[in-house]
Amino acid sequence: MNRFEVLFMLAYTTIVTGIFQTFCSGANTGHISRRIGRGQLEHMFNQPVSLPMQLATEGFIPFSGSSNLISGTVIMAVALNGLDIVLPWWWVLSLIGNLIVTVAIILGNSYFASSLAFYAPVQAEEISTFVIDTFGHISTFPLSGMPRYLQFPLITFIPTGLLAWFPTLALFGKAPFGLSAWYPLLIAIILWLFAAHFFRKGLHYYVKTGINRYHPMGHRR
């Protein structure tokens, strides 16, 4: 990777963070383990709207969340300018598609890990923060110089490489390991299926046992 590609990758991460903050950080919808651990899901049960719909609509905070989105876009423009390549118009669409898939992977990770909070509300209250931040930090390393035995697990079992490195290469037509550019979408779907399964199981356990740990912190703030 040359230095503008690395800059592009960092811009990509910043934009992803911006999207996450704008659409998923209101009312802790992205950090769902907090709401579970603090017993706040009980408020949601009393609304005549399905839980996925509530989660999808509560997270949007357009003003306080968009600073990363804006600065990331500016950095990306600088990187693209430096790369000095001609890109077709539909490339922008594939960029947006990749960004959405990346955010989906982060959310999938968060909800997957957060399912633990149904069973261990005290210990796992902040697990979503832990997962999102740790993955976020690791994802900013360009893996191109690394040995293959490190690259491979980081795009499969611990898919931090899919959050910035893989999409950057794929967007420039250089996806590693001869994988298709659609590969992150496949991982996102698998992750969501797992997350949905474990989340539903956890929810079921929750309404059977009751957490009795109600705390209003962060609720409807």
Binding site: P48, V207, K208, T209, G210, R221
Partner: protein, 310 residues
């Protein structure tokens, strides 16, 4: 399943006629399954981990954690007919909040069935919540960092309340609960009593046919409590709303409700009128003093003073 319970979207305020609450225990025209509350052989057990903090206990915790099983509800059955005002009482830890959570779909029973307004709180959750109002005295449903009016607006959108219904209900609660002044204030800046009034108002905006209140008078002063009691009585007597309320203040309960359901150690200990409860205490040989009040009841005196100070 019958949808009888969910046909009226008319605001209660239009029901100007005095709709008489059904007499106690007389089954309503329809089966109680269609409206009201039907709890059948419900058991709810909780597991509580036991911890010791000293000496060998710490080691024992690690090697062999001790569990305790609590029967919060033990084979409980009762029916509440549409239009009733039921007081739900019992000592601390008796299982009152647990029952409320079961009715509101926040918990599921270990055994037994719960039917609320003819629906299952689990399977018909979304449909049920359009008709149910829930308020826990120690929680708020308001948006903390927003003005009260914005929470009300949120409620209108989420519950999809028709404009005319919303408008009339809002007028009614604003008037009866005296919250006109509070609407532009942020929820976080309200006192406890003011917040409770705003919460109560918001709960009623969608014209629920059944409301569940868990210790709604917690921390309220005499005047605020009076206001709440009068309001609930009005909503019940004039609009036919079914109400289940828990409290530790028996005077309040007696004043509001016609029927008292008492629970103790997870079992129904008494179900009937307050006078029946007095008779029962005599049967137990419990001596009661009939207080002949020469002096004015102190609560009234204080209430009068509070009002004068306002």
């Amino acid at each position: 399943m019958s949808r009888q319970a969910s046909t009226d979207t008319t605001p209660w305020v239009t029901a100007g006629r005095r709709r008489k609450a059904p007499a106690m225990f007389t089954p309503s025209a329809g089966s109680p399954l269609n409206g009201g509350v039907h709890v059948q052989c419900v058991t709810k057990t909780f597991t509580q981990w036991q911890r010791e903090n000293a000496g060998k206990g710490i080691l024992r915790n690690l090697l062999k954690p001790q569990k305790k099983t609590v029967h919060a509800l033990d084979d409980v059955s009762f029916t509440i007919n549409p239009g009733e005002f039921v007081a739900y009482a019992g000592p601390n830890g008796a299982g009152k909040s647990t029952t409320m959570k079961l009715l509101a779909g926040m918990l599921q029973p270990t055994q037994g069935t719960v039917s609320v307004l003819g629906m299952s709180p689990d399977k018909d959750r979304i449909r049920l919540m359009k008709k149910l109002g829930v308020l826990f005295g120690n929680r708020t449903e308001l948006w903390w960092d927003h003005p009260i009016s914005q929470s009300f607006e949120w409620k209108r959108v989420v519950w999809d309340i028709p404009d005319d219904v919303y408008k009339r209900n809002l007028e009614m609660v604003t008037d009866l609960l005296d919250i006109g002044e509070l609407q532009k204030t942020f929820a976080r800046e309200l006192s406890l009593g003011q917040r409770m009034r705003a919460d109560l108002a918001m709960m009623l905006l969608h014209s629920p046919t059944l409301i569940l209140l868990d210790e709604p008078t917690l921390g309220l002063d005499v005047v605020a409590k009076r206001q709440m009691i009068d309001f609930l009585k009005k909503v019940n007597r004039e609009n036919g709303v079914t109400i289940v309320v828990t409290s530790h203040d028996m005077d309040d309960l007696e004043e509001m409700a016609e029927r008292i359901l008492m629970i103790s150690n997870g079992k129904i200990a008494y179900d009937g009128s307050f006078d029946g409860l007095r008779a029962l205490s005599e049967a137990y040989g419990i001596e009661t003093q009939t207080v002949v009040i020469k002096k004015a009841p102190i609560e009234q005196v204080i209430a009068g003073l509070y009002k004068a100070w306002k």
